[in-house]
C-alpha cells in the first residue's frame, strides 16, 4: 500500500472572487461557497469568517476542525464514510492537502442528545496557544441548521457543509504539482528488526447516545461500539478516522513518528483501532484482550497506545497496556494526566504493567494553558458552560477564562518537564 501525500502550503489567504491556490496564496470565494452550502435545504444560513493567529477572537460551538484534503488518484475519498461518503479503503494513490489553513465547523448543534454530547470547548486565537491549528489562519464555517430536524440529521447537515468547504478548498490543487511530496509505504525492511504496532483508542458515543449512528469520532463513518479494527497507517494519513478533530487525527504525530523509524529501529507493521466506553466489565476486557491478541498475531513485540477521552475510556486503554504486556508485547502508553486539583492520582488506575508512560500533560477544563484574557469578538455561542462535568453555570465566552479546554492526546505539543 503506497500513498503519495502532496502538500500545498498556504502562506497567504485572502477573500476574493474565485477559490484558487497559486504559489502559496489561497484566495477564497466566500459567497460562491456560501451559495453551495445553502443548496442543501437543511442549512438555513451560513457564513464564512477568516480568523488569524493573534486576532482577539474566540470560537465556540466548535464541532470539528478539518484539514482540506482531496484524493487525486487511487480509490476512495478523503475522510471516508462520514456523511455518506465512499467507504472504499483509503491509503493508496495520491492525496493532496492544504497546510497552514483549517476549516472550523461552528454550529449550535450538540453532537448527540445525552451525556457528554454537549459542546463546551472553544478555540482561542491568542498567540502562544498550544492547540496546533491556532498557529495559522482558520476558515470558520458558521452554520444555522434547520432546528426542526432530528439531532442526527442536524449533525449530518452541519458536517456535510464543513466537508463541502474542505473539499472546495482542496479541489484547487487537483491539477497542480505539489511543492512538497512525501511517500508513505511500509516497504520491506530488515527482518531482524522487532515489529511495532500503534493502538489508537477512540471513544464511542453509542451507549451515552443510545444510538448506533450518533455523530462523533468515526472510523469509516462508524461511531458505534465495534471490535478492534486493523488499519494500515496510510488509512489514518488519509482520514479513515475523523471528527473531533479531523485535523488532529489526520495529522497524528504518532503515526508520522512511527513511520520515520520504520526499518531503522523497528518494522512498523500496522495500526489497531479500538472503541472505548463499553459499559460492562466483560466488554471492556474483551476489547483490551483482543487488541493485544491482534498485536501479537501481527508479530509485534512493541506497541504504542494512545486514547482520546476521559476516565471511562481510560479503562480500556490501560487494560490494553496490561493485556499487551501480558502477551509479551512491550507497551508504551501515551496519556494525559488527571489534574492534581481532583485530589486523585495522576492516572485513574495505575496498573503495574504501565511501565513506559509518555505524559501529554493536563489540558482539560482549565488545568492547562492559561489564564486567557478577554477577547473583542466571539464566533458561535456567546456563553460557555462554566463547569463541563456538572453542566453547572455559564460564563460569558468573551470574558477572561482560566484556561484552554483542549487535551493533547497525541503529543503535538513540545512542552516538557524534567525532574532532576
Amino acid at each position: 500500500m503506497r500513498l503519495e501525500l502532496g502538500t500545498f502550503p498556504v502562506d497567504e489567504v485572502v477573500m476574493g472572487e474565485r477559490t484558487h491556490w497559486d504559489s502559496g496564496k489561497l484566495e477564497i470565494d466566500a459567497e460562491g461557497i456560501r451559495r453551495a452550502i445553502l443548496s442543501d435545504p437543511r442549512v438555513v444560513e451560513a457564513r464564512l469568517e477568516l480568523i488569524r493567529p493573534g486576532d482577539s477572537v474566540r470560537v465556540t460551538s466548535v464541532r470539528d476542525v478539518l484539514e482540506p484534503r482531496v484524493k487525486v488518484r487511487g480509490p476512495g475519498e478523503a475522510y471516508p464514510g462520514v456523511c455518506g461518503r465512499a467507504v472504499a479503503p483509503v491509503g493508496r494513490g495520491r492525496s493532496h492537502r492544504l497546510s497552514g489553513i483549517a476549516v472550523v465547523e461552528v454550529a449550535e448543534v450538540d453532537m448527540y442528545t445525552g451525556n457528554d454530547g454537549w459542546l463546551d470547548g472553544f478555540i482561542d486565537m491568542g498567540l502562544g496557544s498550544p492547540v496546533p491549528y491556532t498557529a495559522f489562519p482558520n476558515l470558520c464555517v458558521v452554520l444555522d441548521v434547520d432546528s426542526a430536524l432530528d439531532i442526527e440529521d442536524r449533525n449530518n447537515a452541519a458536517h456535510s457543509a464543513a466537508l463541502l468547504v474542505s473539499d472546495q478548498l482542496a479541489a484547487t490543487t487537483v491539477d497542480l504539482d505539489p511543492p512538497e511530496l512525501e511517500t508513505f509505504e511500509l516497504a520491506e525492511a530488515d527482518p531482524g528488526l522487532p515489529k511495532a504496532v500503534y493502538i489508537t483508542c477512540h471513544r464511542s458515543p453509542e451507549h451515552y447516545s443510545d444510538s448506533l449512528n450518533a455523530f462523533w469520532t468515526a472510523i469509516y463513518g462508524f461511531t458505534r461500539l465495534t471490535p478492534p479494527w486493523l488499519l494500515h497507517p496510510n488509512e489514518l494519513l488519509d482520514g479513515a478516522i475523523s471528527v473531533l478533530t479531523s485535523w488532529e487525527l489526520i495529522n497524528n504525530p504518532i503515526v508520522r513518528e512511527m513511520y520515520s523509524r520504520h526499518g531503522v529501529d523497528y518494522n512498523f507493521v500496522g495500526c489497531i483501532a479500538i472503541r472505548t466506553r463499553w459499559s460492562s466489565q466483560a466488554e471492556k476486557d474483551i476489547t483490551s484482550l483482543q487488541a493485544a491478541k491482534v498485536a501479537r498475531t501481527m508479530g509485534a513485540s512493541g506497541a504504542v497506545i494512545s486514547y482520546d477521552a476521559g476516565g471511562n475510556d481510560f479503562m480500556e486503554a490501560i487494560r490494553t497496556v496490561q493485556a499487551c504486556e501480558q502477551e509479551g508485547v512491550k507497551a508504551i502508553f501515551v496519556t494525559g494526566e488527571e489534574s492534581p486539583a481532583t485530589g486523585g492520582p495522576p492516572l485513574l488506575e495505575p496498573l503495574p504493567e504501565a511501565k513506559a508512560i509518555v505524559s501529554t500533560g493536563m489540558g482539560l477544563r482549565g488545568a492547562g494553558f492559561g489564564p486567557l484574557p478577554a477577547v473583542d469578538r466571539v464566533i458561535g455561542k456567546k456563553d460557555l458552560v462554566e463547569n463541563g462535568s456538572t453542566r453547572q453555570g455559564t460564563v460569558p465566552a468573551a470574558g477572561p477564562l482560566p484556561g484552554i479546554r483542549w487535551q493533547d492526546h497525541f503529543g503535538f505539543t513540545r512542552l516538557s518537564a524534567y525532574e532532576f
Binding site: 459499559s279 460492562s280 466489565q281 471492556k284 476486557d285 471511562n312 479503562m315 487494560r319 488506575e349 496498573l351
Partner: protein
C-alpha cells in the same frame, strides 16, 4: 461496593465488591423483563448484604450470578 466496572474497584482497594451489570443499570438488567430483572436485582442486593457480613482482609469480589457459594476472588 456494587460496581459494573469491578476491576477498577479491585485495584483501587475497595474491600468488598459485588459485580454489577452495566454502567447504565448497575443493579439490574431491564433486558431480562420485569420479573427476571427483579430477581436479578434482589440477588445483587442480597449478595451485597451478605458481603457486608463477610470478613475480608483484601479487596474481594462477590459474584451474584453464581448460584452456588464459591470461593470469592481476591485481587492479586
Amino acid at each position: 461496593m456494587i460496581s459494573a466496572l469491578y476491576s477498577l474497584a479491585l485495584t483501587t482497594g475497595a474491600p468488598r465488591i459485588v459485580k454489577g451489570c452495566r454502567i447504565e443499570h448497575v443493579c439490574g438488567n431491564p433486558a431480562l423483563g420485569p420479573e427476571k430483572d427483579r430477581e436479578y436485582t434482589r440477588r445483587i442486593v442480597e449478595m451485597a448484604v451478605s458481603a457486608l457480613q463477610t470478613a475480608v482482609t483484601s479487596p474481594t469480589l462477590f459474584d451474584p450470578s453464581e448460584t452456588s457459594a464459591k470461593e470469592p476472588v481476591h485481587a492479586s
